[in-house]
């Protein structure tokens, strides 16, 4: 019950410099023109796939949706063997993107691509 543990550690709720680098979702706006795809993608003009970056905290709180395995791996890193890495900061949920594009045949294609935008992060 990581959430309860946090309540028992008052100093944990204070933001430290390390916590500022904690695993979090970041924005990254890019245009299809910058990616060199604007000759075949009509819409949208911009794309924000977002990305997850940061260190996974020593106590994996509930908001990270980390599986039990990640919590155990964290304990192993702290208490048993530091050669076992801490869990990694990776996307947890994604949302799709709709793309309107030209095909070489001249057809126009609307297509929804799954898992194209990161919506939240997890440590696992």
């Amino acid at each position: 019950q990581a959430g309860n543990l946090i309540l028992d550690l008052p100093s944990y709720s204070q933001k430290t410099s390390a916590e500022k680098d904690e695993c979090a979702l970041h924005s990254f706006r890019v245009s299809f023109n910058q990616l060199g795809w604007d000759h075949w993608i009509i819409a949208p003009h911009r794309y924000n796939p977002k990305y997850c970056k940061g260190t996974c905290p020593r106590i994996l709180r509930y908001g990270y949706n980390s599986p039990n395995h990640a919590i155990v791996q964290n304990f192993i890193n702290q208490l048993v063997d530091q050669s076992v890495p801490r869990p990694s900061c990776v996307p947890y949920k994604y949302s799709p993107i709709s793309v309107l594009m030209i095909e070489p045949s001249g057809s126009i294609l609307y297509k929804e691509y799954e898992d194209m935008i990161a919506e939240s992060c997890t440590c696992r």
């Binding site: 990776v90 709709s98 070489p104 609307y110």
Partner: protein
């Protein structure tokens, strides 16, 4: 972020946590066979698809929750061949051939429609049009508007595009071999007003050409098939076992 080096952006495409960026890269057409994009996508077809896009996705490209497409892909197909049929009197007719180009196993046809303009405006006349499927017998059922509504029709020409469901007609073609994925339509127009027996007006073909009916194929991209294809392309057996290799772009 904007203004960063292109190399940094291409690196983004290789971020392992964005595998579908890589999938998109696989689909980038490397060669354009005939024309510039602006020539390929212009006029009413592009306007139609942009309108569809705005209805089902927001400005950031996120699909709207209340969208009612019933499919995750819609392909607009224009005719690859057309033949003008000789006619007499007020009738104008051309035959249009379409390649469906559905990839069995990767794309599942949910619905097919044909979109056409009910009215065409010439310099000195107005045409009322329908499409007929190959095999549909008899004279097309044309019901021109009454004279009193003519002006209203002219002013609302942009709204005169109609979408007709042809799913039951298209499905047999969709699952056959690639060669037989051909669909033939007749585009039939009649001149509004009294038939004076004159020759078809000059400019009819050009106007009709700019307003050729097009198909909308509502498809479900079957991810299972797509993944299987990607898996086959990237997983190659070696004497030492399977290894992952990146497909050349």
């Amino acid at each position: 972020e904007e203004g960063k080096e292109p190399a940094a952006l291409s690196a983004l495409a290789r971020v392992p946590s964005l595998p579908l960026i890589q999938m998109l890269l696989e689909q980038v057409p490397s060669v354009w066979p005939c024309c510039h994009r602006k020539q390929l996508a212009s006029g009413q077809p592009l306007r139609y698809m942009l309108n569809l896009y705005q209805n089902v996705a927001d400005r950031a490209g996120r699909p709207r929750q209340n969208r009612k497409l019933g499919a995750n892909a819609v392909r607009l197909v224009r005719p690859f061949a057309k033949t003008r049929q000789p006619g007499a009197g007020p009738w104008y007719m051309q035959t249009l051939d379409y390649h469906l180009n559905i990839q069995p196993g990767m794309e599942h046809l949910v619905r097919a429609t044909v979109v056409y303009s009910k009215t065409l405006l010439l310099a000195h006349a107005q045409l009322f049009c329908v499409v007929q499927l190959a095999g549909e017998a008899g004279v097309p059922k044309l019901s021109p508007p009454r004279r009193g509504k003519r002006n209203a029709l002219v002013s609302s020409r942009m709204d005169s595009w109609e979408e007709r469901d042809i799913t039951s007609h298209s499905l047999p073609w969709a699952w056959d071999s690639k060669k037989s994925q051909l669909l033939r339509l007749s585009h039939v127009c009649i001149r509004l007003g009294p038939d004076d027996g004159s020759e078809p007006e000059v400019g009819w073909e050009k106007t009709a050409s700019l307003n050729d009916p097009f198909l909308l194929l509502y498809l479900n991209d079957t991810r299972k098939g797509l993944r299987a294809k990607m898996g086959k392309a990237s997983l190659k057996e070696t004497p030492d076992g399977p290894v992952l290799s990146r497909k050349a772009r």
